[in-house]
Amino acid sequence: MKKNANDTDIQIAICGSAGDGTIAAGDILKRAMSLQGYKVIAFDLYPAEIRGFGKCISRIRISSGQTYSLKPQSDALVSLNDPHAIPHVVEVRDYGAVIYEDTPMARIPEGGHISAHVRPAQIPYGLGIRHISEQATGSARSRNIVVLGYMAGLLGMTRDVFHQTIGEKFKTKAPAVAEQNLKAFDAGYDLATRVFRLDTIEIKPPRHTKSGADAVMMTGNGAVVRGFLDAGIDNYFGYPITPATSIMERLTVEMPKTGGRVLQTEDEISAIAATIGAGYTGARTATATSGPGLALMAEMVGLGVMAEVPSVIVVSQRGGPSTGLPTKTEQSDLNMAVFGGAGDAQRIVLAPTNVEGCYKCAGKAFEIAEKFQTPVIVLLDLYLSNRYETVIPPKRNPFLRKPEKKIAVRNGNGAYKRFAATADHVSPRSVPGEPGLMHTVTGLEHNEMGRPSDLPEVHLAMSHKRHKKLKGALNLRGLTLCKRFGDEGEVDVGILGWGSTFGEILEAMYAAQSEGIRCSAMKVVMLSPLPIEQIAAFHDDCGEVLVPELNYEGQFAGLVSGELGRPVTRLSQVTGAPMRVEEILNEVRRLSGKQSPARKTKQQDTGDERALEAGLS
């Protein structure tokens, strides 16, 4: 973020085992902080295993100014489970705090206690978490809340807003539950106020206290849901798959309240098939999946393109190929989203870069799909799907609730041509129920009437139509398709990015600027069709263009340099984790000639080797 003297910018990591309430504690923290008007970005990781002892970690960045990603280092780490938390101790900055249980219930093996791993420059804060929970509530269940209270007290956070948040969090449970947890919180908080603070973690008042009341914490998936609802989604079809499932789960709760219908289908093929079927009737319909599901949907996406039926497909990427790394993040489905399937099947692909973008892209996707009569893929990844950010919902619904350009009226008494040639290549569409406009759509190549035809001139004309009409999407209003940040005019290094990684890119760009490197960054939201003119102009301004992304071969870099016919520098990483700001910054330094000494020898690396190196680091 852009630094300001009076800014708060702290990051808390809470780590425990499934069942410890790690995520719940993190939830309360982020809600409490966002209620006060802080900006919050958070990302939770939980295990692939459902039961047992998998690791949960919640990282929460709280700031008064705008930030764009998590920080590589946290200011405090709270351990609810030492074996899981120990590897994360190194993520705590010097003089940051490590908070943990100092009287565990069971014996622990030599070296198994976190106190042996706290770095000399970090400050250990041990407390009898379990004991305090039992004393305050009669059970050890509220350990997470005790330690949350302790952390809040230690950092001097306001108590009341936590009380409010805890009350809300447990309002669906028996009243005693909220009460117990308030006691647990206070017990931890009170203890902390008696402890001398050794560290330098500063909480200052938020910049905009007023917005706190309006601000809500949302994940990318939550924002997709909100966007869908605000755009008036009628139908949803889905098949569970991490990290997209929570979209369906929430829609299933929300949609029926306004008469919407959700169906869990038997597989992804059915999900997209039903989505397209419903889209054919004129209903606003969506599905959401991840890479493996999109692979199954490929043929149907092609049908949607060919039959010119609107549909919205949210794809939240995870590690691949195949079943891959279901609970790790990656950006390796770009090629499939843009190109996947048989034939020349151009479609519209939007990749939001932050939670607010998820809201806008999801809601707008319906309008776009209807306007261009085609599938629209909204491409997220696990990191964006699951990360929380504070967003201020728009005062007025920004989406058109009804299709903009409906639909055909029969011209005179000529036969209705579903696929008639028009100036903008979008043909008047009719939907079942409209008399006199009956027609059949098909995945076969067809003439203007929609009748199957394999004549060369028909195939050429129709290919042209399908391709051309999408170019109109480059003139869309009301949605940022691409945007440049940072220095204007000519710069040493330009960072070109897409999707969730763009947060880290912005942080790296601001850091590079503060080191005196002329630097700017461009995010590309519309990946297909590509706003190539703006990208080319950006490329013109940049001495070097760096493309950081979370896939092995640099899929976006390939896409861009292919269309531009000019080289870019790839920075690829496949660790399953978001890209580190420092990693990007190092490349920027290197490309600008202001490299840090340690990296000098690596200048000759090929892109591939660098990818490998980053992947293994």
């Binding site: 009628d234 139908n235 079809f237 709760v253 029926p256 309240k257 306004t258 008469g259 919407g260 219908r261 169906l263 289908t265 038997e266 597989d267 093929i269 059915s270 999900a271 098939a273 039903a274 989505t275 397209i276 079927g277 419903a278 889209g279 054919y280 009737t281 004129g282 209903a283 319909t285 043929e299 149907m300 049908l303 039959a307 939907v431 079942p432 129920g433 409209e434 008399p435 006199g436 406009l437 009956m438 027609h439 059949t440 759509v441 098909t442 995945g443 076969l444 009748r451 199957p452």
Partner: protein, 288 residues
Amino acid sequence: MNEHLKPVYLEEKLDEIRADGHQDYRSKAIPTWCPGCGYYSMTEGFTMALNRLGIEPENTVVVSGIGCASRFPFFVNTYGFHTLHGRTLPVATGIKQANDALTVVAVGGDGDAFAIGAGHIPHAARRNVDITYLVFDNGIYGLTKGQASPTSAVGFKTPTTPYDNCDQPLNPLMMLLSYRASWVGQAYAGRPHHLADMIAEAMAHRGFSYLHILSPCVTFDKTDMTYANLDVGVRDLPGDHDRTDLLAAMAQVEAKEAPALGVFFEEGRPTLGDAMIETIRRAGGQAA
């Protein structure tokens, strides 16, 4: 007098047909099927059924997969969706869920239904999606020129079974009964009037109705499911068959060598649409 011996005058017949109205449900496209194909009976039966039930063509969507059978929508004058091989039912489900007021008919071949699309059938059946599924069974892959299908008989010779088909054929009706489809019947292209009645009855059923239609492929099958064989093979369901008795229905479909024509099973139960409305009610919403 024997129906076949009565003289037919073309003008008269055409007038009769026009007056009847079912030809309004035909499109102007000329079918791509081979002369003599059983599928012509389906078009005829379907248009007659729509006419009889008084369903408006603009409120009807015919959804099909890929195959000769699946060309069907092009030849009827309703809304149509010619989808992908095997994906008829999920598309039809989506259409029906989005607009309950539409009459939705799914059409496909035996390969479309029981090979590539077999996984969708139990789900349409268990959800009781209020659509009619017409499967045209010619025991062969017609469109791709005569390969074996899941309903081809053992010993059947085709380009992909040059040394005879070894795979035991499926019993589609048994499958549908075991999925507890709420209406299960069988018809034969060689009995067009009965076929039309059956289509009409299937469409009148509220819920998922499955009509299996035996239909010879005159081009690629000269030995097996021919008109000659089927004319003598088919039988009527016994007059006392109880169509509410699932086990009795199963007993009837078990005898495959003598296919019975008629309605095996029927029951009334909530449809997918009913379930959706109930869900909306429980969530406190207002159904559209």
